[in-house]
């Protein structure tokens, strides 16, 4: 018997008796009613609440009903206004409706007419709200070019990326490997006015210092032994497009300095050259390293960091947005169906469960590879548990892709669970003292989960 949201109705009439009787009658119907005696008071009240409907008397001293409606529609063009009048003249009725009144009532009203009209409005509002809600839900499953997510943080990133795309600011994308840093960089490029210009990637980690230097800046013919022809670097090739510097955290201190100068002066010279070449491209850098820590350890120049970090985007790892796993799985299945000419229609619940419980150290890229394999080996038109092959079982037996810290965390969790989270016993088993164990639990954010039996 409760109404989901109270409908707010404002009654504007100079007659006290009308205000009182209309208010009490509407309140019996469960509406929230506020009654005022003049257009001026009505305008004061307008911004204080989300009004669903206004019942406005036509003839009032000062501002009349139609003038008030005009004023209201200036700030709230969607406001539904019902004009009430004691004098039924066709002229005023037509005028009111033409001016945008929702309906026109002659006093006294037939109770049936008014309640039906208000019901109609309320139902209409419900539909509008439902529609808005559904649209919002749809927007939640958002795509940014090749990226897809319904995670709040990711959606914020998509939103930010769209905004950033319009500018030429340098962007620094951080995130674990496989989270989609390059995809995001491409998306920013594709959403930007530079979309028709080249998108050039430089993978900084895969090259030696001198190779990277020549890769970035290019070199003149004869600049060094073996430089037999003029070579244009990626900075030059990017032209008016986007230069994506992947694994920026891995470049040497010398190159960091060169890059900083280039970013500051927006021009550079080829290796062995003297001509200054201007830079018109937008630079997006990415890294899976913790640059703040690298600065602490003096492996990364703080000034370069600040130069790159104009717009900072941190992509959360897949394990922090598990709700995206089913979405990504569908997305990848669809993609590989097209690429491989398969007709996989979906994935079994059991298979989804396995995928959901994995930690995905390799993030979306790893998930993509697992799905690619599953689509290849699937016998029917549904991917089942048998088709899923994870590189590691969740017990933590496989350490291939894990850092020392991750192994430490996993090991502490295992020991704690083995000892039912008894701190003294666990610390003893680990060969450390109690305080150290507490600190590590805090550091790794370990939590007691309904102590699972050992597998």
């Amino acid at each position: 018997m409760t109404m989901e949201k109270k409908v707010n109705i404002m009654v504007v009439d100079d007659e006290e008796i009308v205000r009182a009787s209309l208010t009490s009658w509407l309140e019996e119907d469960g509406y929230r009613v506020e009654a005022v005696e003049s257009g001026r008071k009505a305008l004061e009240l307008l911004p204080q609440r989300n009004w669903d409907l206004m019942l406005v008397d036509l003839k009032m001293p000062g501002m009349d009903g139609i003038q008030l409606m005009d004023e209201v529609h200036k700030t709230a063009p969607e406001m539904l206004v019902i004009i009430m009048t004691a004098y039924a003249t066709v002229d005023t009725a037509v005028k009111a409706m033409k001016k945008g009144a929702y309906d026109y009532f002659v006093k006294p009203f037939n109770p049936d007419d008014i309640s039906l009209t208000i019901r109609k409005i309320v139902d209409h509002h419900k539909l509008v709200r439902e529609n808005l809600f559904l649209r919002k839900e749809l927007r939640k499953q958002y795509k940014l070019r090749d990226m897809i997510s319904k995670n709040e943080k990711m959606l914020e990133i998509f939103e930010l990326a769209r905004t950033v795309a319009k500018s030429s600011s340098t962007v620094l994308i951080q995130g674990e490997s496989g989270t989609g840093k390059e995809l995001l960089a491409r998306a920013i490029h594709d959403e930007s006015p530079r979309m028709d210009a080249p998108f050039i990637t430089v993978s900084c980690a895969s090259l030696t210092e001198s190779l990277l230097e020549s890769e970035l800046f290019g070199h003149e013919k004869g600049a060094f032994t073996g430089a037999t022809v003029l070579h244009r670097g990626k900075l030059e090739l990017a032209k008016d497009g986007t230069l994506f510097l992947d694994e920026i955290g891995d470049i040497s201190l010398k190159l960091q300095m060169d890059l900083l100068r280039v970013l500051e002066e927006r021009e550079f010279r080829r290796v062995g050259g003297s001509e200054l070449i201007p830079i018109n491209s937008r630079i997006i850098a990415a890294t899976n390293r913790d640059l703040a820590a690298a600065i602490e350890e003096e492996r990364f120049r703080a000034d370069l960091y600040y130069r790159l970090n104009v717009i900072s985007i941190h992509i959360p790892p897949l394990r922090e947005r598990r709700e995206d796993i089913p979405l990504l799985v569908d997305h990848f299945i669809e993609k590989f169906n097209i690429e491989m000419g398969k007709e996989i229609r979906g994935i079994s619940e059991g298979a989804v469960r396995i995928l959901m419980s994995n930690d995905w150290p390799g993030n979306a890229r790893e998930l993509r590879n697992v799905i690619e394999r599953a689509v290849v080996v699937a016998k029917g038109n549904i991917v089942t548990e048998a088709d899923i092959s994870l590189p590691s079982v969740p017990s933590g037996a496989d350490h291939r892709t894990k850092s020392l810290e991750e192994i430490e965390k996993a090991h502490i969790r295992v020991v704690l669970n083995e000892n039912q989270w008894n701190i003294v016993r666990s610390a003893h088993a680990l060969g450390i003292d109690r305080v150290t164990l507490y600190n590590k639990i805090k550091k790794f954010g370990l939590k007691k989960e309904g102590v699972a039996p050992k597998e």
Binding site: T2, M3, E15, S24, P111
Partner: protein
């Protein structure tokens, strides 16, 4: 009616409709004014007071009302005028009239217990502006509305 309200019902001697509530232009009585008058007559041991009149009732903004109540208050009033079949040019039907009166009375008294209109058609608190509405809606409170009434009368219905 006492069953539905979980209360004892007593009939009081009749009183005249206050003449100042008469709206000569409309040949109807202004129900809010009658309610005000009734409030002076509430017996000390009464939780609520219901007035029943043969006169046609209205409030200034509406052409007619079947009844009126103070939401969350003490007094309610119901008119027989528009509940009668003969008002619509039909043959009198006393049992139907009594059933309509019972439903309208429960409905208005429901308002005095703080209830607003209920979206359930089977509930007596469902909105009705026509006798057809009165006839089609239920004759008792729905579970939710009954809980509200029970909490106010201090009784919980068993079973």
């Amino acid at each position: 009616m006492g069953d539905c309200l979980m209360a004892t019902v007593q009939t009081m001697p009749s009183i005249p409709v206050p003449p100042e509530s008469f709206e000569a232009r409309r040949n109807q009585y202004y129900s809010t004014k009658i309610l005000k008058e009734m409030l002076g007559d509430v017996p000390q041991d009464a939780l609520k007071l219901l007035g029943v009149t043969d006169e046609d009732l209205c409030i200034p903004i509406l052409t007619y009302v079947f009844g009126e109540a103070q939401v969350g208050g003490t007094a309610a009033i119901v008119s027989l005028a528009r509940l009668r079949q003969e008002h619509y040019g039909l043959t009198p039907d006393r049992p139907l009239l009594l059933e309509r009166l019972r439903k309208e009375s429960l409905h208005e008294l429901g308002h005095t217990f703080g209830l607003i209109h209920c979206p359930l058609r089977e509930c007596v608190m469902y909105l009705s502006n026509t006798v057809v509405d009165v006839d089609t809606r239920g004759g008792d409170f729905c579970r939710g509305c009954r809980t509200v009434v029970a909490s106010k009368t201090g009784t919980e219905r068993r079973g």
